[in-house]
Amino acid sequence: MPLKRSVSLWQGLKYKGGGPMWAWILHRLSGLGILLFVGLHVLAAFMTAQFGSDAGIAINTIYESWAFQIIVYFSILFHVVNGLRVIVLDFWPALLEHEREAVWAEWFVIVPIFGLATYIIVTKALGG
C-alpha cells in the first residue's frame, strides 16, 4: 500500500514541516532533474557521435548556454550538499536531534559557493 494521501496540494503546502521538509522536496526535484539532464545529454551526444544528428547539436546548444548551466549547477550543488547531510544523519542517528540546524548549515555552504560561481559565470558571459 502506498502512503494514504487524502490531502490536497494546498493542505500539503501549508504543512509546517519547515526546513527539512523543503530540503526533502528539493532533494527529490533536483535528483530527478539531474537524471533527466544526464539522460538527455548522454542520448544527445550519442546521436551526434553515431548519426551526426542535428537534434543532438540543438540539445547541446541549450546545455552550453550560461542560463541553463546555472540551473543545472544549483540542482547538482543542492543535491550533493543535502545528500551529504542525509548520509551523515542517517549513519549517525544521534545527530538527528540537530536536523534543523544541519539544514540551516547547508544553506550557509550552498549560498556562498553558488553565488560566487554564478557571479563569475554571468560576468564572463556578459563581458564576453
Binding site: P2, L3, L32, L35, V42, L84, D90, I120, K124
Partner: protein, 141 residues
C-alpha cells in the same frame, strides 16, 4: 500515516538504501579527485568556471577540449577513462534507483511494481551501454 516498511535483514530495499548512500560518497570522491587534479594541471588559468564544473562532474576530454588547456595528454588518458566508467556506473544506477523509489512511493504493491522494476532495469542498461560507447569512442583510449 506510516512510513514504508523495510525489513531488518539485508533485503533488496535495504541494500539499495545502503547503495544510495555509498554511491553518494563514492561520487564525492570522484568529483573531488577531478577538481583537485584539474587545479594542479592548470585549470585555474587555462579554463573558465563553467568548463571546470563540467569537468568536475564528469572528467571526459570533450568537456575541456574547447578551453585553453596546454597538455592534452594530461586530460585524456586511461586514468580518466577508468574514472569515467566508474562515475557513469554509479551515477546511472543511483539515478534510476532514485526514480524507482519516487515512483514506487505513489504505487500499490503488486505486479505493477515488478513491471516498473523490469522497465527501469532496461532503461538503466540502455543508458549504461550508450554512455560506455561514448566514453570508448571519445578518443579517451
Amino acid at each position: 500515516m506510516r512510513a514504508r516498511s523495510v525489513s531488518k535483514t539485508l533485503g533488496f530495499e535495504s541494500f539499495m538504501w545502503l547503495f544510495m548512500r555509498l554511491s553518494g560518497l563514492a561520487m564525492y570522491v570522484f568529483a573531488l579527485t577531478g577538481l583537485i587534479i584539474a587545479l594542479f594541471m592548470g585549470a585555474r588559468t587555462q579554463m573558465d568556471m563553467g568548463t571546470l564544473l563540467r569537468w568536475t562532474f564528469f572528467p571526459i576530454g570533450t568537456h575541456v577540449t574547447s578551453s585553453d588547456i596546454l597538455v592534452l595528454e594530461q586530460w585524456i588518458n586511461p586514468f580518466w577513462s577508468i574514472i569515467q566508467y566508474l562515475v557513469i556506473a554509479f551515477a546511472t544506477l543511483h539515478g534510476t534507483n532514485g526514480l524507482r523509489v519516487v515512483l514506487e512511493d505513489y504505487m500499490d504493491k503488486g505486479w505493477s511494481v515488478y513491471l516498473l522494476r523490469g522497465l527501469l532495469f532496461v532503461v538503466w542498461l540502455f543508458m549504461l551501454l550508450v554512455a560506455f560507447n561514448l566514453i570508448q569512442t571519445s578518443g579517451a583510449i
